[in-house]
């Protein structure tokens, strides 16, 4: 009867064959989760799920956590998946339980994160009748899932769940939803699985074409000014050591996207940090000057390219991506390579000869000194958010995994934290979901108990999800919230500052909670700081206090994120430094389009 549940089975391609036996649908769900190596389920109950929930009481292999809001359950599953590379799982009831998941699922879809969401559904005979708490969640999530299922018979359940996990984790990862009608959970069915998952029409290519790999190696050898542009796909592929090897052997500077942060050490001498709208000036200028751009698991997002017709115009483009539809979507590739980033780079590295490029290196060095990433922190001024992040980075460094919310603080975290390993920086990139970071940090803490999960948060975002402090307290999950509190929706305010003559409409919070009292009300701890001298001692207090902790850092609301490529503008239009007065006098003629 016992089913193999080695943690390894998460990645096992060939599931064990089991003799057919009639068991209840709920039992099939539980066994399937065990077989997939699931350790945590992030859920919120409803009457339809009673039979499944009962099993969590009787068994202990899988821990179900009671999450306070379903959106956060999905973000926790994402945080777990982003930190571990394994599939995150949530379980919610039908109707509102299911619809509350939608933002989280969309977030996972945009950033290619493997999660499987199980939703309860009304009985098959009632489906389509506007029954109590019925929502057509399969219809609603069709465009935000990699695939979804309405299970119609208990006999199909085991195989469907196996497929769901397989689809979520293979190829370009993504969310999969499995809708479970009440009668399918209550009824009995066969627990029967094929020896091997074999899906017609779904066969992701992982091995790069040898001819293309040859061309990549030749292009690198010929190039005088190559640049590696590393994205989230490099992290999914675990390609970091191959990237370091390629960069060092052929002396290629490296820039990364928001989602690629951590795939290459930020402080490496070849690292240029992040590129794009709020990337470093030297990374962005390097894209303008390079003659070869090697994109590894990155999708030429508009926050990276700005006006795409003016992006990297001098460069030949190599695009390595597992998803053929990502290649050539925004920018034409001269050398497309479809395949898994790690597998492709392993082959490329076999062909690469050591090279040095003293002139290019010198040029990059000059750009770096001419346009450094800096900020001012005059004596007596309020705490600058950037200096708070620098202090955090120096105090906790590689002991922490950082998540963020969405806004200015997110950009400063990407710019100023010193990342040293992959999956150390976890952020909502494609959807830009405020409220992502705190629940994600809870998932991270469970996935990586050896690290400290810290959410670098904005106050606006945190207010969207702060009920989850209760979850953290209940399960004694030691997440830390490093709250950069500017009492405003800083990122929107920044656009009003730059493009709307400082007319600050509907962004400032005239009322904010007392975050220390809030933490205490939930049974957690907190501290507020307003002086620069307090930053480091407070960080120490935060990491040394057991359990969840909110460090409320009161920061300057007038600070802006620079550099900035105005939306829709080209890289060359980048505003490098905070020369706000000049900008205001000159007034940007055209409003950005978003």
């Amino acid at each position: 009867m016992a089913v193999a549940t080695k943690a390894k089975s998460q990645t096992a391609k060939q599931p064990t064959k089991l003799k057919p036996q009639k068991i209840s649908g709920a039992e099939i769900v539980y066994r399937s989760l065990e077989r997939e190596g699931v350790k945590y389920v992030f859920g919120h109950p409803g009457a339809i799920l009673l039979t499944v929930l009962d099993l969590f009481l009787k068994r202990s292999k899988i821990k179900h956590l009671l999450i306070r809001h379903e959106q956060c359950a999905a973000h926790m599953a994402e945080g777990y998946a982003r930190a571990s590379g394994e599939v995150g799982v949530c379980l919610t009831t039908s109707g509102p339980g299911a619809t509350n998941l939608i933002t989280g699922i969309t977030d996972a879809y945009m950033d290619s994160i493997p999660i499987v969401c199980f939703t309860g559904q009304v009985a098959t005979s009632m489906v389509g009748n506007d029954a109590f708490q019925e929502a057509d969640i399969v219809g609603m999530t069709r465009t935000i899932t990699k695939h979804n299922y309405l299970v119609k018979s208990t006999d199909d359940l085991a195989e469907t769940i196996q497929e769901a996990f397989y689809i979520a984790r293979t190829g370009r990862p993504g969310p999969v939803l499995v809708d479970l009608p009440k009668d399918v959970l209550l009824g009995d069915g066969n627990y029967q699985l094929p020896e091997k998952v074999d899906l017609r029409g779904y066969k992701p290519t992982t091995k790069g074409h040898p001819r293309q790999i040859q061309r990549v190696a030749e292009a690198i050898e010929k190039s005088k000014q190559p640049l590696l542009y590393v994205g989230g796909g490099a992290i999914h592929a675990e390609a970091h050591s191959e990237i370091v090897k390629l960069a060092e052997t052929a002396e290629i500077p490296v820039t990364y996207t928001l989602l690629g942060a951590g795939a290459f050490p930020s402080a490496h001498e070849l690292s240029l940090g992040m590129l794009g709208m709020h990337g470093t000036a030297y990374a962005n200028y390097a894209t303008m000057e390079c003659d070869l751009l090697i994109a590894v698991g990155a999708r030429f997002d508009d926050r990276v390219t700005g006006k795409v017709s003016e992006f990297a115009t001098r460069a030949k483009i190599i695009h390595i991506d597992i998803d053929p539809t990502a290649i050539g979507k925004n920018k034409k590739a001269d050398i497309p390579v479809v395949g898994d980033a790690r597998q492709v780079l392993v082959e490329v590295n076999k062909l690469i000869k050591p090279q040095t490029r003293p002139l290019w290196k010198k040029r990059i060095q000059n750009l770096r000194t001419e346009y450094p990433l800096t900020f001012d922190s005059p004596d007596g001024a309020p705490i600058k958010p950037q200096e708070a992040i620098v202090a955090l980075s120096e105090e906790v460094g590689d002991k922490a995994i950082i998540t963020t919310e969405v806004g200015q603080h997110q950009m400063w975290a990407a710019q100023f934290y010193n990342f040293t390993f992959p999956r150390q920086f976890i952020s909502s990139g494609g959807l830009g979901t405020m409220g992502f970071g705190f629940p994600a940090a809870i998932g991270v803490a469970l996935a990586r108990p050896d690290k400290l999960a810290i959410d670098i948060a904005g106050d606006g975002s945190f207010q969207m999800v702060m009920q989850e402090i209760a979850t953290a307290v209940q399960y004694e999950i030691p997440v830390k919230v490093f709250l950069l509190n500017n009492a405003t929706l800083g990122m929107v305010r920044q656009w009003q500052d730059l493009f709307m003559d400082r007319r600050f409409s509907e962004v400032d919070f005239e009322s904010s909670p007392d975050y220390v009292k809030l933490a205490e009300a939930f049974g957690a701890s907190g501290r507020r700081i307003v002086d620069k001298e307090e930053i480091r001692p407070a960080i120490q207090e935060m990491i040394n206090t057991p359990g969840p902790f909110i460090l409320d850092v009161i920061v300057d609301p007038d600070e802006l994120v620079f550099p900035m490529v105005p939306a829709g503008g080209a890289t060359k239009d980048m505003i490098v430094r905070d020369s706000r007065k000049k900008i205001l006098q000159g007034k940007l003629s055209a409003l950005p389009d978003n």
Partner: protein, 167 residues
Amino acid sequence: MRQVYSILVNNHAGVLSHVAGLFTRRGYNIESIAAGPTEDTTITRIVIVAIGEENELHQIAKQLRKLYDVREVEQISYNQAVTRELVLATIKAPLSRRSEVIQLANAFGAQVINMTDDTVTLEASGNDHKVRTLLKAFEGYGISQMARTGMISLPYDGMPEDWEPIA
């Protein structure tokens, strides 16, 4: 029960997926679907054949009528409408059996549109019953490839309300 729906819709992007969504929401498979322009270019006719419980099939018709872009929905029984489907099928027909296959094709009024040493490709059209019988007749030879358009249909014009077809 099998049901043919003849649906007139505004020719807008996304209408087809809206219509199909009503079926999939109930977990019903659509057996065939055919869509194409009508005499009025702003209107498309979608013909869907679906299988389900009688009550449900009526309910779906009502829900279809509720959709903003749906102009008209008719639930059609076969003998009250002209229904046609086009089939292309490649039949395994080695030289020794070729004439047999062609003879059979003639009996159904099917046309030969391609021939190789061991296959014959046929084009046939007809109502549901004829298409089924034809495919059944060729099953024994082996059908190596097949494409069907799905049923299209028009109500008989000028039929009296109380007309009872002879079964």
